[in-house]
């Protein structure tokens, strides 16, 4: 052991698209992130959240059963220290503001490049 060991962060990916979930998992370049689960809707995400206790969450907004905005509120209530990056196609400013007010820490619009994704995650982990 030495004093420079990096902290591990548990990652949960939430998006109703399998393609997007796999894309985030494949493209993120952070050794300190360890994937603990993926979910396709807000209800499933909350169940996984309470079971796996993630530190970092990527969150879609438009999803069946429970949308991302509501899900963010529940997650932050359960674990105020969680860091949430919203990854959504919704491109209006009001949506981004609402997500941040609910407790999200970053916002990335779809479609995104690998570089944009990694910059957004880096900002989240800072």
């Amino acid at each position: 052991m030495n004093g420079t060991a990096k902290r591990d962060f548990k990652l949960l990916i939430v998006d109703d698209s399998n393609i997007v979930r796999r894309r985030i998992e494949r493209s993120q370049e952070f050794e300190e992130l360890r994937l603990v689960g993926t979910a396709g809707n807000g209800a499933e995400a909350l169940e996984l959240f309470s079971r796996t206790d993630p530190d970092v969450v990527t969150m879609d907004l438009t999803m069946p059963e429970m949308d991302g905005i509501e899900c963010i509120g529940h997650m932050v209530a359960m674990k105020p220290s969680v860091r949430i990056l919203v990854i959504s196609a919704l491109a209006d400013k009001a949506t981004a503001v609402e997500a941040m007010e609910r407790g999200a820490n970053g916002f990335l619009n779809k479609p995104f490049t690998d570089r944009q994704l990694n910059e957004a995650i880096a900002e989240l982990l800072r």
Binding site: S17, I19, R22, P64, A94
Partner: protein, 148 residues
């Protein structure tokens, strides 16, 4: 009713999707009015629009185009379910991006996906509908925007 000038946001959204997600620009043809039922390609993603505007946004594409698009996106699963997932995601992304112009009252549903060769889309009462032709590599797809 939907005005031709408002199509710019959908044209820009479509151009941006292909340029970013597939790293290869699509060329967009001149939009034209949908006046009678139009046969859809094998896969179509439909987003219902509600709130300030009512209607639907539909992205329809042939399987061959979607397969190449998936490859360009580094995807290795080319199953029927992944094709369905992709058309839904394209429709969702273009519709969601349109909120930059239309605002937060432009409410969009989760994608409804149609697959098969016998599907069609017809003009909806109370809306004006345009077809936006999309050409990408050697393939052609369409975006149909039908809004009050």
């Amino acid at each position: 009713m939907l005005h031709e000038k408002e199509l710019t946001t959908f044209v820009d959204g479509t151009t941006n999707f292909f340029a970013v997600a597939a790293q290869q620009a699509a060329s967009i043809g001149s939009p034209y009015l949908l006046e009678e039922a139009l046969a859809l390609h094998e896969y179509s993603g439909l987003i219902d629009v509600s709130g300030k505007r009512q209607g639907v946004v539909c992205f329809t594409a042939p399987k061959a185009m979607l397969a190449v698009l998936l490859m360009k996106m580094q995807e290795t699963d080319f199953s029927h379910e992944t094709m369905r997932d992709l058309v839904g995601e394209v429709a969702n992304t273009i519709s969601g991006n349109a909120r930059r112009a239309f605002g937060g009252d432009f409410l969009i549903s989760v994608p409804n996906v149609l697959s098969g060769e016998t599907q069609s889309i017809a003009p909806r009462p109370g809306t004006r509908s345009f077809i936006i032709p999309i050409n990408w590599r050697s393939h052609s797809a369409k975006l149909i925007v039908s809004l009050s």
